[in-house]
């Protein structure tokens, strides 16, 4: 293996406007419906009675910690895993026993899965070549897709000559080249640097909106899920804990797991609350709890106030998140007494 020499700028500043892509990728919107899906690996129960309907044309995130079954679910939709029980429908067609070759899907892997012995052209044209399309048509299609993903002019390079972000864009072009009914992305930005990840994520979001191809994205990053997805399915231990829009799952989490997984939490007298939902005051009020200020941390615009509740020892961390203005008004000092309640 030759060490990877980044011959090009690793930041993906050369991403073209995805609105130009609309004529090139014409996608029909196919719904994905999963019912009663179960999967075991030996004694390990990876998926437990999963029911999920992903609306056609949407960008849905499967969000969960590692081992929650989110990747297994995606791979079951792709046909890369065969479920022990349950059915998978794509565009109304039962594909449970259809091999991945004939599911008409596009799949993007976290570590790109680039064909190292093929050039960018060879990689992107792989699917059409398998389908025995005429060479001129393949070349035209490849050029068109490379234009969309911002890799025009990279046709004759090998994957080892590309940066991580470029490799993933090549993988995306390769998946789109077969005109998939649905696009499945398994932690597609997981191996990239923070900056590249953000750029590519926004670009991906716009490309999806433009083309309307039903897209499912697996991620363990709640910010990524809330940022790009129309719908979020939160998974834990092989179950879907909640399904809804980013706003719904964040504002009205179905349970404490979803609440703590989607954002920071504090424990106030045994109840899970968001730090920014805590209100501090010097006056006692209904339901307000008297606490001691332990520490005041200034984090730019926001201020984190760490509190000690003498009555609730060992319950968990209790921190309130205030704006700089609020904190200044309250004039908080470590050791001072204050009342806290949740809105």
């Amino acid at each position: 293996m030759t060490p990877h020499a980044p011959t090009v700028d690793d930041r993906d500043g050369d991403l073209p406007d995805p609105t130009d892509a609309a004529p090139a990728i014409v996608a029909e919107s196919h719904e994905i419906a999963v019912t009663g899906l179960n999967k075991h690996y030996g004694d390990y129960h990876a998926l437990r009675d999963v029911d999920l309907t992903i609306p056609g044309g949407s960008l849905t995130a499967l969000l969960g910690p590692s081992g929650s079954g989110k990747s297994t679910l995606l791979r079951a939709v792709a046909g890369l895993e065969v479920p022990d029980a349950g059915t998978v429908l794509i565009g109304g067609q039962d594909v449970t026993f259809v091999p991945p070759q004939r599911r008409e899907i596009g799949f993007v892997f976290q570590h790109y899965a680039a064909f190292k012995h093929l050039t960018v052209r060879g990689n992107v044209g792989f699917g059409p070549r398998i389908r025995k399309r005429p060479k001129a048509e393949i070349d035209r299609r490849v050029d068109e897709l490379l234009e969309i993903v911002g890799l025009a002019g990279y046709q004759e390079r090998y994957p080892s000559q590309l940066s991580g972000g470029q490799r993933q864009r090549m993988a995306l072009a390769r998946a789109l080249a077969v005109e998939p009914r649905v696009l499945l992305l398994d932690e597609p930005f997981g191996a990239l640097d923070a900056k590249v990840r953000d750029d590519l994520r926004q670009w991906m979001r716009r490309l999806q909106a433009e083309t309307g191809v039903t897209t499912v994205l697996v991620t363990h990053d709640q910010e990524e899920a809330l940022d790009v997805a129309d719908h979020v399915a939160v998974l834990a231990e092989g179950r879907i804990e909640q399904w809804g829009t980013p706003r719904e799952v964040y504002d009205r989490p179905a349970n404490d797991f979803v609440k703590s997984f989607l954002g920071p939490t504090a424990v106030l007298r045994g109840e899970l609350v968001r730090p920014h939902d805590l209100v501090l005051s010097h006056e006692a009020a209904d339901g307000a709890v008297p606490v001691t200020v332990r520490r005041v941390v200034h984090l730019g615009f926001e201020v984190r106030v760490e509190l000690d509740d003498a009555e609730a020892a060992g319950d968990g961390d209790l921190s309130a998140q205030l704006t700089r203005g609020e904190a200044a008004r309250l004039d908080l000092e470590p050791g001072g007494r204050v009342y806290v309640r949740a809105t």
Partner: protein, 268 residues
């Protein structure tokens, strides 16, 4: 730690003398003896009917053994790396067995199995001679060279992982297309290296082959057997040296090929 200059020189000298006496000197001596009467004398010895027959028999064996080892070696490596089945440990051990078993034992066991009195003796009754014929020599050579392709391909398969193959599947490639277009190109250097090792060992094998060969000059002798019989039976020392030089020449070509490929493999 810094090694003083005299110490470095001493170490180098010891290493060079060791290599010189044990490796370079014997080989050099054979070369010297082979060509001391000029190239013509050498040429005469390696173009006798017996020598030509031995050379072609050696090459025929290589030509049969290599494709078989490629097909079954790659299949075995794929099964060991990609497959999930009981008894993988046993298969692993069996693949390594030829490294551990002495070639002469291989020859003896083949006679036991395929000989007139053996379990598969009925094959000889049909008139198809195995032992003391070409099939026996091929079987013996396959046995001793079996691990090379498997052991060279296996780590490469591990390294490339399954994702490229899965990506090919999602792009519509059948298993067969995936193998030809994705797996095989990815393992090509490992496979080539395994083939070169197989060729080298197949050319040089002596112990297993002598047990199952009829040993008739000009008919059923490989190059190694020719060297042996010229020296022991014919007392034709010069002829033995000449045949050895031919073997060595083939070995050096293989070795050079191996070095070039190894470099290519590491930069691929």
């Amino acid at each position: 730690m810094r090694i003083s200059r005299p110490a470095t020189l001493t170490l180098r000298t010891v290493a060079l003398v060791y290599l010189g006496v044990l490796v370079a000197l014997p080989i050099g001596l054979i070369l010297l003896r082979t060509f001391e009467d000029g190239f013509g004398a050498f040429w005469e010895q390696v173009t006798t009917p017996a020598a030509i027959s031995a050379l072609s028999l050696s090459l025929v064996i290589v030509a049969i053994v290599v494709p078989l080892n490629v097909v079954f070696g790659v299949a075995t490596a794929l099964a060991l790396v990609r497959g999930r089945f009981r008894g993988r440990g046993v298969v692993q051990a069996i693949v390594d067995l030829p490294f551990a078993v002495s070639p002469i034992v291989v020859g003896a066991s083949l006679i036991l199995l395929w000989g007139a009195e053996g379990w598969f003796g009925f094959v000889e009754d049909t008139g198809f001679k195995v032992i003391f014929a070409l099939p026996g020599m091929v079987l013996a050579t396959i046995f001793v060279t079996l691990p090379f392709v498997v052991r060279e391909v296996e780590p490469v398969l591990h390294e490339i992982g399954e994702e490229q193959e899965q990506a090919a599947a999602t792009l519509g490639a059948s298993r067969w297309q995936t193998f030809w277009r994705v797996t095989l190109p990815a393992i090509r250097w490992g496979l080539t290296y395994g083939v070169v090792l197989t060729v080298a060992r197949a050319l040089g094998e002596f112990g297993a082959v002598i047990m199952v060969s009829a040993g008739v000059a000009g008919e059923s002798q490989t190059l190694t057997l020719l060297v042996h019989s010229r020296y022991i039976d014919d007392h034709n020392e010069f002829g033995a040296y000449a045949a050895s030089t031919t073997l060595m020449f083939l070995a050096i070509v293989t070795l050079l090929l191996m070095t070039v490929l190894d470099r290519k493999r590491h930069s691929a």
